[in-house]
C-alpha cells in the first residue's frame, strides 16, 4: 500500500472540467459551422481551418517558448477562439489576414494577460475588431452566399454584397424602411441563413440549436443572452413604434447580423463576463443597448462586437457592485 494522502475537504470532485466545458461549446458551434460551409462553400472551410489552426499554433508557441510553462492547447479554449474568429469574418478573407487576426486574438488579447482565465476581453472579438479597423475593406466585402451544391437565387441583386444591416444603413440615407425592406429577402431567409454576412452570422437556426445545447449542458446560463436579446427587442420595439419609417422592426434586428451569435456565444464567454446573476443581466442589457445605439446611430452598421467589448470592460465593476444574494440578510456587527 502506498502512502496515505492528506488534504482538506472536500475529498471528491465533481465531473466538471475546463476541457468538458470548452468542448461542449465547440460541439455547440458545429451546426453553425456546417451551415456556413454549406452556404459559403469551401472558402468557409478554409477560413475555419486556418483560423483554428493558427490560434492553436500561436498558443502553443507562446506557452512553449515565451512562457515556458505547460502547454495546454488542447483544453479547447484556443479552438473556441479560432472558430469564433472565423465566425466573425467574411468567407473571402485572405488567409494572411486571418493569421494576423489569430495572432492578435491569442497573442495580444489572451496570452499577454496570462492566458486562459486572465483575459479581460473576449480574445476572438479583439481579433475581429483589430481586423475590422486595420483591414476595413476586406472585412466588409461580403461574398454572396454561394451554396456548396447548386446556386441560390433568393438574394435580390439590389443588395449587392452587403449584409442586410449594411444595406439598411446605407439605404436609410435617402429612403425609408418599408421601401428598403421590400428589396431584401424576407425574414425567413434571414432565419435560415440565405443572407450575406460573416461565416457564423448567417444562420440563426443553427446558432439557436447550439445555444439550446449549451443551455441544457449548463455551460451558459440564461441571464446574459436573454437580457441581451430582450433589451434589443424592447429598445428597437420602442423606436419602431415611434416611427416605422425610420426604424426597422425588432425581428429584423434579431435575425440579422451577429446578434444571436454574439448573445449566445461571445457575450457568454465566462472569462470576460460578470459572475453574479444580476451582474450578468445588467451586462446583457448593456450589450443590447450599445448594440442598437451603434447599429442605428453609429458609424458601423453592426455593433455587436463593440458592444460586448465595451461591456467586458465593465465586468470588474459589475462584479464589485452587483453581488450575488447572500444567504440571510447581512447584519454586520457595528
Amino acid at each position: 500500500m502506498s502512502m496515505l494522502t492528506v488534504s482538506g475537504s472536500p475529498h471528491v470532485h465533481g465531473d466538471s472540467s475546463v476541457k468538458k466545458i470548452m468542448y461542449t461549446v465547440v460541439i455547440a458551434m458545429v451546426p453553425a459551422m456546417l451551415v456556413s460551409v454549406y452556404f459559403f462553400g469551401l472558402d468557409a472551410l478554409r477560413v475555419l481551418v486556418i483560423s483554428s489552426l493558427s490560434c492553436l499554433f500561436f498558443e502553443w508557441l507562446i506557452q512553449k517558448y515565451l512562457i515556458k510553462g505547460p502547454v495546454t492547447i488542447f483544453d479547447g479554449s484556443a479552438l473556441i477562439t479560432g472558430i469564433l474568429l472565423a465566425f466573425n469574418v467574411p468567407s473571402n478573407l485572405p488567409t494572411w489576414i486571418i493569421i494576423v487576426g489569430a495572432f492578435v486574438a491569442i497573442g495580444m488579447a489572451k496570452m499577454s494577460f496570462g492566458g486562459l482565465g486572465k483575459n479581460p476581453f473576449n480574445p476572438a472579438l479583439v481579433g475581429r475588431i483589430f481586423l475590422l479597423i486595420s483591414f476595413p475593406v476586406q472585412m466588409t466585402s461580403w461574398p454572396e452566399p454561394k451554396m456548396l451544391f447548386g446556386s441560390m437565387a433568393s438574394q435580390p441583386d439590389a443588395m449587392g454584397g452587403a449584409t442586410p444591416l449594411g444595406f439598411l444603413k446605407e439605404g436609410l440615407k435617402n429612403s425609408t424602411v418599408p421601401e428598403l425592406m421590400s428589396k431584401m429577402p424576407d425574414l425567413m431567409m434571414d432565419f435560415i441563413g440565405f443572407i450575406g454576412g460573416s461565416l457564423g452570422e448567417v444562420s440563426v437556426v443553427a446558432l439557436l440549436l447550439g445555444a439550446i445545447y449549451m443551455l441544457i449542458k449548463k455551460v451558459i446560463t440564461w441571464q446574459i443572452p436573454f437580457a441581451y436579446i430582450g433589451s434589443v427587442v424592447v429598445f428597437t420595439g420602442i423606436l419602431w413604434l415611434i416611427d416605422p419609417d425610420m426604424y426597422v422592426d425588432p425581428l429584423f434586428h434579431l435575425l440579422t447580423g451577429g446578434l444571436i451569435l454574439g448573445a449566445f456565444f461571445m457575450a457568454t464567454d465566462m472569462v470576460s463576463s460578470p459572475i453574479s446573476p444580476w451582474g450578468q443581466i445588467v451586462f446583457g442589457i448593456g450589450c443590447g443597448v450599445i448594440t442598437i445605439l451603434i447599429r442605428i446611430w453609429g458609424a458601423y452598421p453592426e455593433g455587436v462586437s463593440f458592444a460586448i467589448l465595451i461591456m467586458n470592460a465593465f465586468t470588474p465593476l459589475l462584479n464589485r457592485w452587483l453581488k450575488p444574494k447572500l444567504f440571510g440578510e447581512t447584519i454586520k456587527a457595528a
Binding site: 496515505l4 475537504s9 472536500p10 466538471s16 459572475i275 446573476p277 444567504f327 447581512t330 447584519i331
Partner: protein, 446 residues
Amino acid sequence: MGILKTFSLGGVHPPENKLSADQAIEVLPLPKQAFIPLNQNLGAPGVAQVQKGDVIKVGQLLAKGEAFISSNVHSPVSGKVLKIDNVMDPSGYRRPAVVVNVDGDEWVDGIDRTDTLVKEIKLSQKEIVEKIHQLGIVGLGGATFPSHVKLMVPEGKTADVLIINGVECEPYLTADHRLMIEKGDEILVGTTILMKGLGVERAIIGIENNKPDAIKNMTELAGKFKGIEVCPLKVKYPQGGEKQLIKATIRREVPSGKLPIEVGAVVNNVGTAFAVYQAVQKNKPLIERVVTITGKSVAKPGNFMVRIGTPIRELIEKAGGLPEDSGKMIGGGPMMGKALLSMDTPVVKGSSGILILRESESKRVDVKNCIRCARCVSVCPMGLEAVLLAQLAEMEMWEESEQENVMDCIECGSCHYTCPSGRPLLDYIRLGKSKVGQIIRNRGKK
C-alpha cells in the same frame, strides 16, 4: 408526494454511494486499549477526573467540562487507566487523552442497559437540560456542539420549533439512516424530550428522499407522537447544514452571522436525539455511537455501534481490513470529513463514519487557472463568491475577506467540488476564516 422541499440557494449533487445502507447496525467488540480524548466537543477542553492506575468502570466520569461551552466525557470501557498522555487526534496533532487497558465490561450502577422502550418522560424541563449536560451529550452530526447549550434559549429569544436532522446529505454515510430504521421509536422519544427541554410544541424531522424506508418508518411511528411531523426533502447537498435545513423545512432564513435561534428554530441530529433518549430515559452517558465504515474497496462496508475511544483500526479490520489500493482515510464523509493520518486515531463523539478512498480517488485533480465560470458562486448555499474569497485569502487581504462575509462559509465544499479548474477554493477560504476569526477575537479583547 408533490414537489419536495429543499433549500433554495446553491447546492450540488455528489454521487451518493450509500454502500452500507442495507447493513444493520452491529455491535463492535470492545478494543483492548481505548484512547479517550479529553476534549471531544466544540469549545473548551474538559479537565481530567481520573489518574494513572485508577480502575474505572463504564460510564464513570473521565473529564469534566467546566466552561459554559464544554461537556463531560465518560468512560466507554472498564479497566485500568494506563496513563494520561497525548494521543493523535484526527489531524495528527497530539492532544491529551486517557489511555485505558480494557478489562471486562463492568458498568457503573444506575445505567439501564436493556432495550425496552421507555416512553414516559418523568423529568422536568430543567432536569432534562441538566441531565443532558451531566451525561456529556454533544451534537453527533459532526460539529459536536454541546447539546445542553442548544437547549438554553438565550434571553430575549424564543424557540417555536425543533428540527431533527435526518438528512445525512454526505455521500457514503449511513449511520443516521440505519438509526432511523432500527431505532425510530427511541429517536422519537428523544425528540419529545428535546421538545420538552426546549419548551416547544412542534418538531419536524427532515429526511432526504433517497431514504424512502427511513421516511416510511419514521412517518408511521411519528403518528403515535404529538407534534412531530416528518418532512421528506429533495436530495441536495448540503441540506444537512443547519441553516439550509431550516430554510428547507420551515422556509426561514437565518440572518448572516447569527444562530438558528434567531428565527426560533433549534436543530439537532437524529443521532443526538437517540443519545438524548438514552441519557434521559436510561441514564446512559454518551459512550458509544453508530459509525459507518465504508469505501468502494472495503470488503464489508457496514454500520457499527462503537465505543468512543476505540482505535479506528479495529473498525477497519472488522470491515475486512484496509484494502490494498487505499489512498486516503477520511473521518466523516467525503465532502466535509477530515483526512486521517493514522489508523491509531480513536473514534470520538463526532465520528460519523470512516471512509476509505481508493488511491485513484484520493488525489485531487490538477489545479488550473480560474476561468471565471462562476460555478462556485452559483453552487454556494450561502451566496458567497468563493472565487473571490479564495483570491483574497491568497493575497492575504483579511479585511476585505471579512467584508465579503468569509465567516458565513459553512465549509460545505460545494465550491471546490464543482470548480472545473479544480481550484482549492475551500482550502483558501478556511485559511481566510481562521485568520479573520483571529482578527475578530483580538478585536473583542481590546
